[in-house]
Structure formats: structure tokens, C-alpha cells
Symmetry: C2
Subunit: 232 residues, 2 copies
């Protein structure tokens, strides 16, 4: 085993499985690779345990490993984006983009002004569907750790965590102190939800909730990875 | 007239028209406001000339202006994002998000590895459709200037501009020197297209082209507006 970077995408498609020491494809993944991505025997792919370890392999009736296991160190700190479900929202778009961008944790929220209410059954179905979106986007973007997708909770409960900030027009800029940013519903956060929590602005335009969540993900991951610094 | 900020969205919907001195609604916009957004007589809205000037007004058979014209200074420098059209791409999603985020110019590109080819007729239809997307997203996000949407051109032609950088895995981080960032097709840029142009990386994950374009927009606008600084 060696310490290294995630796959750069040139080593073929990327597939998650339980054990990279003894990689075995699920029937679903085998079907996807051969029928959708049209992989043939001997074509390269990367296999990954979704817990930071991956290695190169070649496709066939049995997978053949073609290189050592690479362990990717976890990020120095984690970033999380939560978003309130909204009526005209596309949670699968937001979850897909946050996964691709490299966010560590995704929180589904209900808010006081949420118009969407999921009952328990609907919440379970949606969580299952969004978990598939995370896995597919994680393969697509060659992630070595999948973001944790947290079941629907009330924003006011999540916001008890002191690293939580609330996205709010006119708030301060993002910096490394914000570990979790919550995006409100169309009608905005209530004063009770905002409380004395830090408020973060995402620019001078009025963003759709889905756009705010994606922009927050892009900025927070860039800050986490020191590709940008906090504004002056 | 006074100098000020764009509307914050609390003053009602936002509509573009030729002249804010003598605001008149088009039949289409009137229909949208009354039937889709359900505005009633006396409800607030903001009217804007899409050239930096806006003012508050109230809805009715005739629009009544309720405040002075506000002129919003242009950004200190402009940022542009170009993206190559791709087979499974959603150009309307990218154009919508770049408009919401505040990008100043959007470039539609063909690249050497582009699989999508639009003939002249198709290009005209698509440009018309995407121009509507810009206008709708500009209203939604309360922009006071609409981004310029440039007709389809070859990336290699656009890249003659010295402020152009090419998005490429492993490239350097974004900073204020990058005025225009071009996002390649699924197969990436060719060496000829890259040439000795600056290469900019957008993180350690492998981003879909549409995600790369949206992330680039979020980061470039945040850098332009000094909400973040270049990484160290």
C-alpha cells in the first residue's frame, strides 16, 4: 500500500466495492460497465472501497488487479452543505453536484418555511434514491470517499452545532471557520432559525436554493483544499 | 438617480424592459407576472433596463414607479466562462446557473473533440433558446446587467485572447488574472488547443463538464467580488 492521490480519470471508470484486496464486481456494476460504458475484457478501471483506498484493475469475467492499493489521506477538515427541501427543487441535482465537487457531508433539511413535507415513507424512498445518486456521482467524479448523506432533519436541530452557519443575503463571506453551511427554503430562514448564528452571504445576486447549495459546495471545497483563501 | 446595489429580492419580482424612465411591460411579461407569479394590482416589483439601472414600481394596468432610479456600478473587471457543447450536456442548466451566479459573459464553444456539431440553423435556434434562459435567470436572480451570451465559436479561436485560461486537471488554482476560463468536452482539450496557454485546475475530483462550468462561475465571481482571494 502507498499513500497517493485519487484516480485522475485516465485509468478508466471507477467502481466502489467492499474490498479492494479481493475486488469483486456486483452484477449491477458489471452490467453498467459492460452495457452502458461498453468496457471490454482487458480494459482499465479503478476499484475503490469508498473509504479512501483504491487500485487499478482490468475488466473481465474476473477482475485482475494491475497495481498496488493507494490510500488517500482524508481532508484536513470536513465541509458540509445542508439544504432545505423546496417545492420546485431538484434535490438529486444538488446531491449529484455536491458529491462531484467533493463535499464531505450532505444534509437534507426541513425548515419552518419549508413547503415540502415528506412523511416517513416518502423520506425513506427519497433517501434511498439520493443515496444511489451519491454513489453514481462518486463513481463519475472518482471520489475515494463518499459524502455522508444525512436523513431529513429540522434545520433548527442541525444548527445547534457551533460550526454551522446560515446562508443569508447580506451575510459575511465564507472562510475556514464555516464547517457546515445551511441553505434555506424559498421564503428564507425565520428569525428563530437564524438566531445569533453566523450568517454567510453568497454574493450580490439572488440565488435559487439549488444554485446557492452548489455554489456553497464549490467555494467551501476550494477553501478546504486551499485553492482559494478567505476574502479580505 | 442614485448609485446603489441591485435589488435584494424583497421588492418583488424583477422585470427587464427598454426604459426605466417610462416603464412599460411587454404582453409576455405581464402574463407571466399575473398568471404565473400571481401579482395583483398594487403589488411591488422592480423594473430594470438590463444595463445597470433599476427602480421599484407597483403592478397594475399601468405600472406606477414608486422610487428613484438606482444605477449599479459595473464590476471592476469582467469574468467569462466558456464551455464546449457535449452530447449528454445540459447547456440550459449551465447558462441558467452562470447567469444566476453573476458571470459577465458566457461563451458557447466547439472543440476538436466535441461530439456535438450544430449546423447554422440549429445554432441559431439554440442561441435563441439560451438567450431566453439568460433573461429568465436574470430576472430570477435580480441581475441589473445580463451576461453577454456569445454565439458558438471554436475554442481555439476564442483562446487567442491572452486572458483566456483552459480548465485542465492538475492545472494551477484560479486567481484574478484569469478573465476567461474555457471548459473542454468530455474527451478533454487536445494538446493543440491547450498550447502554451495557462491551465487551471478545479479540484481533485473529476468534474462533469457542466459541473466544472458552474464551479468555475461560482469561484470566478467570488474572486471578482473579493469574497475570496487566490490560494497561497
Amino acid at each position: 500500500m502507498m499513500i497517493g492521490a485519487p484516480p485522475d480519470g485516465r485509468g478508466g471508470p471507477h467502481v466502489f466495492m467492499d474490498d479492494v484486496e479481493d475486488p469483486v464486481l456486483s452484477a449491477d456494476d458489471r452490467h453498467h460497465l459492460s452495457r452502458v460504458l461498453r468496457l471490454r475484457d482487458g480494459d482499465a478501471l479503478t476499484v475503490c472501497d469508498a473509504a479512501g483506498r483504491w487500485r487499478p484493475a482490468s475488466f473481465g469475467d474476473l477482475l485482475v488487479v494491475t497495481g498496488d492499493v493507494v490510500e488517500v489521506p482524508p481532508p484536513a477538515r470536513e465541509v458540509a452543505v445542508g439544504f432545505a427541501l423546496i417545492k420546485s427543487g431538484r434535490p438529486e441535482l444538488v446531491v449529484q453536484k455536491l458529491t462531484e465537487l467533493g463535499v464531505d457531508r450532505i444534509l437534507l433539511l426541513s425548515a419552518e418555511r419549508s413547503v415540502v413535507m415528506w412523511d416517513e415513507g416518502k423520506a425513506a424512498v427519497q433517501l434511498h434514491r439520493l443515496t444511489r445518486v451519491v454513489r453514481e456521482a462518486g463513481m463519475q467524479s472518482r471520489r475515494v470517499r463518499l459524502p455522508v448523506l444525512e436523513p431529513l432533519r429540522q434545520a433548527s436541530v442541525v444548527a445547534r452545532d457551533p460550526t454551522v452557519a446560515m446562508a443569508e443575503p447580506g451575510g459575511s463571506g465564507l472562510d475556514g471557520d464555516v464547517g457546515v453551511l445551511l441553505i434555506g427554503p424559498e421564503g428564507g430562514w425565520t428569525e428563530a432559525e437564524l438566531g445569533d448564528r453566523r450568517r454567510v452571504g453568497l454574493g450580490s445576486t439572488v440565488l435559487r436554493a439549488e444554485t446557492a447549495a452548489i455554489a456553497a459546495g464549490a467555494l467551501m471545497v476550494a477553501l478546504r483544499d486551499a485553492r482559494v483563501s478567505a476574502g479580505s
